[in-house]
């Protein structure tokens, strides 16, 4: 296990990994930005492979800009959650710890990229329709469950919250970040749906 990165250790043994990460506090711009930027690099790479079948700087940067709202909303939601905590942790360190739990998303993106790489363009749409769509949906659900488990350990083991408090923190973090992200991403498309539901 020692040769693995802390993010990889968090995937398999989250409690120990986050306790250990909490013992090496850091502060400053580098600590604040390194994992959000790594997440954006993974997202940009996935966009590049899906959109054009290759990894190119143009599409990696463009994909990262397009999905910059994800880390931004996550950081904003974390700012709300950490204000409720009695124990003060440097915010840059808190961000670093939270983003160390994003391993499941990166695994999910790697799987998606590998799948897209193996398929011809005309075979990709089959994965957006049943029955293959259910495989993608199941993998997404698995990634979400895994992520939530890891984030629970961030709050429980790194921020030393009780089990109930950690569960509430994760719930609040996800409710804020995912609601804002969904509203932003689907934007105007949600409006007619809301109108339809409210009529």
């Amino acid at each position: 296990m020692r040769h693995l990165s802390s993010d990889a250790r968090a995937l398999v043994s989250p409690a120990a990994a986050f306790r250990e990460l909490a013992l090496t506090p850091g502060d400053g711009v580098y600590i604040f930005a390194r994992r959000p930027l790594a997440l954006l690099m993974a997202i940009g790479s996935t966009v590049s492979i899906l959109a054009d079948g290759r990894l190119t700087a143009r599409l990696v940067v463009d994909g990262a800009i397009s999905f910059a709202f994800i880390p931004l909303f996550e950081i904003a939601a974390l700012a709300v959650v950490v204000r409720r905590m009695p124990r003060r942790v440097p915010f840059a360190h808190a961000v670093d710890l939270l983003f160390a739990a994003n391993g499941p998303w990166i695994v999910w993106m790697l799987a998606l990229s590998a799948l897209a790489s193996a398929l011809a363009p005309q075979d990709l749409p089959r994965w957006t329709a049943t029955p293959r769509m259910w495989i993608v949906a199941a993998a997404t659900a698995l990634a979400i469950g895994w992520l939530v488990r890891l984030e629970f350990h961030v709050f429980r083991d790194a921020f030393e919250r009780s089990r109930a408090q950690a569960a509430r923190d994760v719930l609040l973090q996800r409710a804020l970040a995912w609601s804002a992200g969904t509203l932003y991403f689907f934007g105007f498309a949600l409006w007619p749906i809301l109108v339809g539901v409210l009529r």
């Binding site: 990165s5 290759r54 990894l55 143009r58 990166i106 990229s113 363009p121 329709a129 105007f188 007619p192």
Partner: protein, 287 residues
């Protein structure tokens, strides 16, 4: 940095360099057939600005260049802003013509592409009235992915007013029966044949495309060609749709078929970049 992590970083960096080296737009072809300038256009794309796409409006323009398209419509969901941004970028920095547009997601239920408009069209009205609004702005109305579930919104009035309907859309490769449903819809009225990729960044743009037989390479000429239904689309298995006279001309020109049909991703640098990229990224996560 530990050695395995350094190796992963080098693999990722080399893959990115290989992919970036291979990322060159094709030399633009001027295709003239039957006295018309034939333009490859994709009239249904989504950006990440107020729409659920994965590329920015300027990213869509650059990707359109890369895919050998002459023009695109950026069609935000009930929104024109991203189309305007894309057009401003294209005018400053690209040969690609950008037509501002929107995909009207309506209540009642239909998805309608409006191209060449200046203001958004209300979505709480019938399809026929929405099409009238589009025409008042000298725009073009196209039924987006008209699967059977959307048909009830397109009554006789709407069908009579429609300028075009998507006959080639990625759904034909993903959903059983979609091609037949699109063909049955198009058979209800003399609509122009449209091929669009509905690009959200999860597949190549221009994967389904429309050949517009235009008088010249301009926004106005494209809209005129669409209005006159001077379009040809290559569908699944190379089947050709559109104006019968133009279909005959297009069938005899291998350049159109070659550019329109989906290709395997076969370039050596492409393969190195994506496989190495995935391995490098996995290495950076693990080590």
């Amino acid at each position: 940095m530990r050695l395995p992590r350094l190796a992963a970083a080098i693999v990722f960096g080399a893959s990115l360099a290989a992919g970036t080296l291979a990322d060159r737009p094709p030399v633009p072809q001027v295709i003239e057939i039957g006295g018309y300038r034939v333009l490859a256009v994709d009239l249904h794309t989504h950006s990440s600005m107020w729409s659920d796409g994965a590329l920015t409006p300027w990213g869509l323009v650059l990707e359109a260049e890369r895919q050998g398209l002459d023009a695109i419509a950026i069609t935000g969901h009930n929104d024109l802003v991203d189309g305007r941004v894309g057009r401003a970028f294209a005018r400053a920095a690209s040969r690609v013509i950008v037509l501002p547009g929107e995909e009207i997601l309506s209540d009642p239920h239909y998805h309608l592409i409006a191209v060449g408009i200046r203001e958004t069209v209300g979505f709480r009205q019938t399809a026929a009235r929405a099409i009238d609004d589009i025409h008042r702005q000298s725009g073009i109305a196209i039924a987006a992915h008209p699967l059977r579930g959307f048909w009830s919104a397109y009554d006789a009035d709407a069908m009579e007013r429609l300028d075009g309907a998507e006959i080639c859309h990625p759904l034909i490769y993903g959903r059983e029966g979609a091609q037949q449903e699109f063909e049955e819809f198009a058979a209800r009225a003399p609509v122009g044949a449209i091929g669009s990729s509905d690009a959200h960044g999860t597949g190549p743009m221009g994967f389904c495309r429309t050949y517009v037989f235009a008088r010249e390479a301009s926004e106005r000429a494209i809209l005129d060609g669409l209005r006159a239904r001077r379009t040809v689309v290559f569908g699944r298995g190379g089947k050709i749709y559109g104006d019968p006279a133009l279909v005959r001309l297009a069938a005899a020109d291998a350049r159109l078929r070659d550019a329109a049909m989906p290709k395997k991703r076969a370039g050596a640098l492409d393969s190195i970049s994506r496989i190495g990229g995935i391995i490098g990224l996995a290495g950076l996560l693990v080590f």
